[in-house]
Amino acid sequence: MAKLKIEDLRRIKESKKGTVNLREGVYRAKVTVHMGTCGIAAGARTVMNTLMTAIGEKKTDDVILTSSGCAGLCSQEPMMTVEVEGLSPVKYVYLDEEKTMKIFREHVIGGKPVAEYAITMGSETTY
């Protein structure tokens, strides 16, 4: 029976002592991957995995990752919406691993939106 070991969880808990839980609203950037049927079929899980790995490797402590449903633009999936503090949210379309990494580096971390992969800029909301 494979099961998580309590001591592993306790070790993580100890190592994070004193850090803030980002879900409590103290994040600088939020990335939402659109995970409708359309998104999943087009590769949204790969996008999510790329971001989870990038956040883990970079050890970023001010970015939260979340998922949402179909945004109604199924033909342009996989999509994600990036919200960085002080900037307008940007919706990115036709994503793959490479584009996701570029957006992560330049927009999520660097604060500079990647216009070439954005569907539009200035009036986006998260669904």
Partner: protein, 193 residues
């Protein structure tokens, strides 16, 4: 969808849209009985008889609730392709249970593939929802419950990369071992419920 782990991700995303706070996932494979079943049970708002009758129809879609669409029809198609079937039980107010059954050594049975990635994707994307997961792949058992994990973490975000890595690790062994179907199964075996 390329594999069953993606179907699973899709079906569970439906349950979160139905307002579920707890999602239970059971995967059972019994190659001797030539049977694979995936059950997803939620405590969401459920469906009435009318919706239940229409939920398999891909052209029935209520955009406002997002409870239906192509997810169920595509999963049912995957079941049918592997001589299986899809059961849906639901009642308003008491959640929904979806069970997908496959003949596991059917040539058109999609592989389970990366269930661990599906699970961490669900947890990372929906940290406020609890997930209970149990699988038994020909005796190889994996169990996980985010309620227990959250209790141990005591306020630390469950979507923390280190926690997600631990959860994925649970599946590493199984992923290596489950390289598609076992040879010489009962091609004409009946699927037992």
């Amino acid at each position: 969808m390329e594999d069953l782990s993606l179907h699973l991700l899709d079906i569970v995303e439906n349950t979160t849209a139905a307002g579920a706070t707890l999602v239970e996932i059971y995967v059972r494979q019994d190659s001797e009985k030539n049977r694979l079943s995936i059950t997803v049970r939620d405590n969401g708002r459920g469906m009435d008889l009318d919706m239940l009758a229409r939920v398999r129809d891909p052209f029935t879609t209520t955009r406002t609730t997002r409870r239906v669409g192509l997810g169920i029809p595509l999963l049912e198609q995957a079941c049918h392709e592997a001589e299986g079937h899809l059961d849906i039980m639901s009642e308003p107010g008491s959640g929904t249970e979806v069970t997908a059954i496959f003949r596991v050594n059917h040539i058109d049975c999609k592989p389970l593939a990366d269930i661990g990635l599906t699970l961490v994707t669900l947890i990372a994307g929906n940290p406020d929802i609890d997930f209970k997961y149990e699988s038994n792949i020909d005796g190889d058992k994996i169990t996980m419950d985010t309620r227990e994990i959250k209790t141990e973490l005591d306020g630390i975000d469950i979507a923390d990369p280190e926690v997600l890595a631990l959860i994925r690790n649970l599946f590493q062994k199984r992923r290596v071992n489950s390289s598609r179907h076992t040879a010489g199964g009962q091609i004409n075996g009946e699927i037992e419920d």
